[in-house]
Amino acid sequence: MRLFFLLPLLLIQTLTNVAGTTPASSEVLRLLNTETRPQSMLIPFEEIRVHRIRKEPLRFAGVMRIHPKLGISVAYTQPEETTFILTSGGLRIRPAGKPDQVAPEEAGRLVQVFLDLLTLNASILSEQFTLQEAMEPSGWTLTLVPSDPALLRYFETIRIQGTQDWLKTITIDHGKGRSKQMVFRSMPLDWDATPEEIESFF
């Protein structure tokens, strides 16, 4: 599983984007980078939103689709149907039965920053994040801490956990009692995208 698949989602969910990664020397990063990647894939996910105003967290579910040419589509199915489409050009939001909304200009710029990060470019990552990683027998943890104060407005840390080359959770800590956790309970599936699916999700 690839880190670059999931970071955009985090970005979307913080409404601003941004992601952090690690220097290319990171063991975890190297592990993720060396995996053989399928052409297109889809993966179910759960999302848990914690907010200090709520006694219980809110839960969302959906399917993420990754297409090497078109980008990433995050389709929420519960409790409402809404799709976030992230391409090299920026972010579009497609509420069920409604036309696409293009994210404001500022968000588009942030999306571009994020997409740059997807290349796992060591120089870009080290400019904006510091990396803390821990390798244990039960799995590994990669923690990204923004070094850019502008990014700290949106989150304090991003913690990525997994085993071997499989990423299990991503947790974004926004601070002030607010966080989000993405949980991936199954392995990604190969996705033989039909034209209809591409039209629906991109």
Partner: protein, 771 residues
């Protein structure tokens, strides 16, 4: 032959040509011609003074608005296209500001103030919405119901994936005031047609009021189209704005001017070939026409600085009338060339005076007309006629070999008719009957759009853009509201628009969409005082029941308590409003503005196309240029009618004094009858009258007065040859105008043709032998 007078005449012609060359070099040709319909008429006269400046500012600003839409071949290109498109539009030399439709305006102090004071600003309208706007205190059950619904709305909002955008702020805004405001404001955006596209609203640096400015805008848009096509193959770029209308109108009118002039000259030449035995005499006639028309154009430009192309079209009649003078003088060429210069001036004094009293006087009367286009025609034709008369005489004197201009026998045809008995009483009864028919059948219609050739491309283009935006079923209206303070202005906006039922599908975007009325504030303060503490207790309880921790909303509670106790450094509303208004960014700058010591604000009102128009209430006025122009034209027509009738009375009295009762009666009677007969005929064939028919009637009456003065003074009964030439050339030129594609010009031409034809017939009748 007087060689001295020939020498003086030639010197004068050379001096004239030199003066014209100097004038041609002095004129700013780039801005010489206007295509802006707004330049044609001063429409502000009948509006209250307080509104005029606001209207002028807003009208100028709206004429700078331009819409650009890019449609990609692939919807996935939208985000990238949006970014590139916006940056390229902003980089266009003609663009001052640009923003994507649907994006929030640039954030700044106004947004910070709004966010910081959201409860102070937005709670009154929220309370009106949830309580139904009742001023009486609500029961405890009602308060509990409202509190429970508010908690439910918060819970539903947070269940949406996209709520993540506002998650960080819900603890200070659990009533969701800001999301509700944004939703309401986006409700004023056009419905979406489903077509993936990027729409940009931009403001031009300068209004496209001149041909040069329009061409510059079109050039910039062309470059933008090329650049976008290169980056996004298959992308389609649409644009709409005042420039599209100006461009098409100008190209149509530019084609109309040579067409009208060509046919006027062609018909005049045909007449000359038919009725003159030596057609070469046409060469000096054409020289006179070119010199007089060119001179009139340049002198008018020097006097006024700019001429509207419509005035030039109407001014084409100069050629048809001026040719009369050239004919008249050149027919006397042989005689003139034997006279001294002083004697010549003395000889042409009579026709000069006659012309000035009638035709030229008629055109000079147009200078008092409030319609700019008609004033310009008055200058253009008045100057042109004086030049034509003078140049005809000078050219005739300057020519070398005097020759006799022979008239075709056809012009001297004597009809086998005689005067009949009771002709005058019958004519008077017929005249009165025609006048009655006119008043009974004819309807008033003043439409500024009659001043331009009906456009086809620009409206189709706008229709396409409106269909893309889903706007086909609605119409946008711009309203201006005036007030001594922002609060008063907003109160007046609320008062005006509260009359439209919410079910009518009407939407408005103005400061009143954001700010509450004083009445709402009073109702909310009453609620706070009476039930503020109780409500917040119920709300906390409802939150708790829905799984929320009420204590986590401490910033909301702090603000609520500050409002309850009126503490916490709350500024006065007016002070807060003025601060926000001062920092509004484009395109919100027109929501509030100042004019002297008063405030004015624009409201964009979207009404269904079949909705009853909203009536002004004395504090709010619709900015509807076409409607305003039409009302102004109608009011000007009444003024002009009064002026024309007064002038006719003065001319009639003067004729009686100068020529005596009998001749004066004939001189005034003929134009009177010609006009009434013509009006009767027009009532049958074209039962509409406007300001331009009235102007046509004035010109026709002046020309007919010429004929009447000529035939009434002559004692012989020979056929009126000079009137025949004059009438034929006049009819030819005005008939060409009657075929114009510009309705106002066609109306004017038809009216003059009908009156001159009637006047000519009466002049012919007068010359018939008595029984």
């Amino acid at each position: 032959m007087n060689s001295r007078s020939r020498f003086i005449s030639r010197i004068l012609l050379i001096l004239y040509m030199g003066a014209m060359a100097w004038a041609a070099l002095s004129i700013d040709w780039k801005h010489a011609l206007s295509t802006n319909l707004f330049d044609l008429i001063d429409s502000d006269q009948h509006l209250p003074e307080s509104v005029r400046e606001a209207q002028t500012i807003l009208q100028q600003s709206l004429s700078k608005e331009i819409n650009l839409i890019a449609i990609p071949s692939d919807a996935a290109q939208l985000p990238a296209l949006k970014s590139t498109f916006l940056s390229q539009v902003r980089a266009m030399p003609c663009i001052a500001e640009a923003t994507c439709t649907g994006d929030m305006p640039t954030q700044g102090k106004w947004m910070a103030d709004l966010f910081k004071r959201k409860h102070l600003i937005l709670l009154p309208d929220w309370w009106d919405m949830v309580s139904g706007g009742t001023p009486t205190p609500l029961s405890d059950d009602e308060l509990r119901r409202i509190a429970d619904e508010a908690a439910a709305a918060l819970d539903a909002f947070l269940q949406t994936p996209e709520s993540t955008a506002y998650e960080a702020h819900v603890d200070s805004d659990p009533l969701l005031l800001i999301p509700a405001l944004l939703r309401d404001l986006s409700g004023t955006s056009p419905n979406d047609s489903g077509m993936p596209r990027v729409e940009i609203s931009a403001q031009l640096k300068d209004a496209p009021s001149s041909s040069d400015a329009v061409q510059s805008i079109l050039r910039d848009i062309g470059l933008l189209r090329d650049s976008l096509s290169e980056a996004f193959p298959g992308v389609e770029l649409l644009d709409n704005g005042f420039h599209r209308y100006a461009s098409e109108s100008e190209s149509l009118i530019r084609a109309e001017i040579p067409r009208l002039n060509f046919w006027t000259v062609a018909l005049t030449l045909i007449l000359a070939f038919l009725f003159l035995r030596k057609p070469l005499i046409l060469l000096p006639i054409l020289s006179v026409l070119v010199m007089s028309a060119g001179g009139a154009f340049m002198i008018t430009l020097l006097l006024l600085g700019q001429i509207h192309v419509i005035s030039l079209v109407i001014g084409s009649i100069l050629v048809g009338i001026a040719v009369d003078y050239a004919f008249h003088i050149l027919l006397k060429r042989e005689e003139l060339q034997t006279l001294s210069f002083a004697e010549t001036l003395s000889r042409i004094r009579v026709p000069l005076l006659t012309s000035c009293i009638s035709t030229v006087f008629g055109f000079l009367v147009l200078l008092t007309n409030p319609v700019t286009a008609i004033q310009q025609v008055g200058w253009l034709v008045g100057i042109g006629l004086i030049l034509a008369l003078s140049l005809s005489a000078i050219t005739a004197m300057a020519m070398d070999r005097p020759g006799i201009v022979r008239i075709s026998r056809r012009l001297g045809l004597q009809p086998p008719l005689r005067h009949f008995r009771w002709d005058v009483p019958i004519a008077c009864i017929l005249g009165l009957a025609c006048a009655a028919l006119f008043f009974l059948r004819s309807v008033e219609r003043d439409d500024i759009q009659d001043l331009q050739i009906p456009l086809t491309q620009a409206p189709l283009n706008e229709q396409r853009i409106r269909s893309l935006s889903g706007q086909l079923s609605t119409r946008s209206h711009h309203w201006i509201t005036i007030g001594a303070s922002i609060t008063e202005m907003v109160d007046r906006q609320h008062a005006l628009f509260s009359g439209i039922p919410a079910t009518d599908g009407a939407r408005s975007l103005g400061l009143s969409s954001l700010l509450p009325s004083s009445e709402s504030v009073k109702r909310f303060e009453g609620f706070l005082q009476h039930s503020g503490t109780t409500f917040i207790r119920h709300f906390d309880s409802a939150l708790d029941q829905r799984g929320y921790d009420p204590n986590a909303f401490e910033s909301f509670h702090a603000e609520w308590n500050a409002l309850l106790s009126q503490t916490g450094g709350i500024p006065s509303r007016e002070e807060l409003y003025q601060g926000m208004v001062a920092s509004l960014p484009y395109p919100l700058t027109h929501l509030a503005n100042t004019s002297g010591d008063r405030f004015w604000g624009m409201t964009l009102l979207q009404l269904p196309a079949d909705h009853t128009p909203l009536e002004p209430d004395g504090n709010s006025f619709e900015l509807a240029p076409l409607k305003t122009f039409n009302e102004a034209l109608a009011s000007y027509r009444k003024q002009v009618t009064f002026s024309v009738l007064t002038a006719a009375l003065v001319v009639a009295v003067a004729s009686f004094i100068v020529f005596g009762f009998k001749t004066g009666f004939r001189i005034t009677g003929m134009p009177f009858l010609a006009v009434t007969f013509a009006l009767g005929i027009l009532a049958l064939i074209h039962p509409v009258h406007s300001l331009f028919h009235l102007v046509g009637a004035l010109l026709g009456a002046c020309i007919t007065l010429d004929y009447a003065a000529f035939v009434a003074q002559a004692t012989d009964r020979t056929p009126p040859i000079s009137i025949r030439i004059s009438a034929l050339t006049t009819l030819a030129s005005f008939s060409v105008l009657a075929t114009s594609r510009i309705p106002a010009v066609a109306d004017l031409g038809l009216t003059v043709v009908t009156i001159v034809a009637m006047g000519w017939m009466l002049a012919e009748y007068h010359k018939l032998p008595s029984k």
